[in-house]
Symmetry: C2
Subunit: 286 residues, 2 copies
């Protein structure tokens, strides 16, 4: 079921990203977007839409736009002036293949390309629904969302900050916000009521926290081969993480609790259960 | 008249860009957007709207969004991995003040913030007009517009390319596209017919070429004090420009011709005449 979604998303990402002149730009954009991955965010958008009785075809442009936005954050995150990472998903980072200048511009291009896909291909949605989806997109993708989280994350490095509220802010915006965007747009496209919208938003908030804690745990316990990217970097850069603030045991305990709470909220969905179990397996909880 | 527009634009840019947490991010975004400038693109958007009997208040969010987008291109252009420029409009570049990481993220944030302003504040426009404005915005701002021009521009450096069609592509996309976006959205918001839309698009295409040739001429003949940024860089980086391809005399001649043709197209507008004469004065044509 999960794999069906992933195939659908990959097929549509390919379709939306035709290579035209200047080819280097489009190849660079496609390179990171199409790296093999779990496509968690688009899958969660589509599955929320299905759960709430919507047509997943209507949510496809938005689901794919969110994956493009996610890829954009990876391209710019890996730049030498940011995390300076040479590998991503087991392959050389975008700037190692296309050079820094093109990588910066490919990331910039994706930030405009993603909402353009929503406007261009959401042909079954009426204008006011498209504008509602775009408002959600802009809110969670920009300075009030993901980027706010990234800025606070960067500023917390090498400062030995031990502040729970700062950590919450980083997790909520850097990680939960894209999951919230995914489920909220899926729900809106399905025509969900405010109750369902709230329920899914709370789910995504907790799922995001769990996902980030799992990411921090994996950064410490995994090898390069397992993750496809440089590991152990949080420690070196003295990053504020759940593991650095509370220790590994407490992090694992918190993760298990959060994932169980998430599971209770969406037990009716086999796909969400699969996603939750996947995280449990990778972090040694199952 | 021109100055009235500039004041209005500055007032609204201030209003739209309230500083919230994390303050560094919003300060960095505001820093480059609010640097004193001629606000050519928003002024052209507003004046086109007025000429075609629209209400300039309706065009204000779009006009300001285009200025934010323009500022974003300046922030990322000045980065060490791009043009590596330490000054902009006589002040230290964004990354010299806020560091490279925040400058990258502030540019990223503006790319989402700009269209968000259009959706959030265009309260007098109906949904389908807003979507039409956004479609124009995405088309000219992204991989099919400005960024395509930037990529080809970068790739032309140090390669001694002498190709007129490549130069045309760079000028059209890197420079004309934002002017086209400005006048087209101004016209659409005014409810213009296809005839007027075509006329203004042609005007903006030629104006953009003239503007870029003037920029290339000024890069060679001006001092740092006059331009507020490093000059003579096109030569050092062996950039493909109208001056490098045809020589200074031919560039000035072409510029004069283009500006006269532009003037013929919009003689009824005092503001556009003022803009054209300003370029003539700065390049020694008047």
């Amino acid at each position: 079921m999960m794999n069906n979604y992933i195939d659908l998303v990959n097929k549509n990402l390919e379709k939306y990203m035709e290579i035209v002149y200047p080819e280097d730009l489009f190849k660079s954009m496609r390179y990171t977007v199409l790296l093999p991955g779990k496509r968690l965010r688009p899958v969660m958008c589509l599955e929320t839409c299905r759960m709430l009785k919507g047509d997943i075809e209507d949510a496809m442009p938005t689901a794919c736009a969110i994956e493009m936005l996610h890829a954009q954050t990876l391209i710019h995150d890996d730049l030498p002036c940011m995390d300076n990472d040479d590998f991503r998903r087991g392959k050389p980072s975008n700037h190692k293949v296309f050079g820094e200048a093109v990588a910066v511009l490919a990331g910039d291009a994706l930030l405009t390309f993603a909402p353009q896909i929503i406007v261009k291909y959401s042909t079954n949605l009426d204008s006011s629904t498209i504008l509602r989806v775009l408002s959600e997109y802009f809110n969670f993708a920009g300075a009030y969302g993901v980027i706010a989280g990234q800025v606070v994350d960067i500023e917390s490095e090498h400062k030995n900050i031990r502040d729970n509220s700062v950590l919450d802010f980083i997790h909520t915006h850097k990680t939960s916000d894209l999951f919230k965007l995914s489920v909220r747009t899926g729900a809106i496209i399905a025509g969900a009521d405010d109750n369902d919208l709230d329920k899914m938003t709370q789910f995504a908030q907790q799922f995001g926290l769990a996902f980030q804690i799992a990411d921090d745990i994996l950064d410490e316990i995994s090898t390069f081969e397992e993750l496809g990217k440089t590991t152990g970097k949080d420690k070196t850069s003295e990053k504020l993480t759940y593991v650095s603030l509370y220790g590994m045991d407490s992090a694992k305990c918190k993760l298990a609790c959060l994932l169980d709470e998430c599971y209770d909220k969406i037990q009716e969905s086999q796909v969400f259960a699969e996603i939750i179990n996947g995280i449990k397996k990778r972090t040694g909880l199952l």
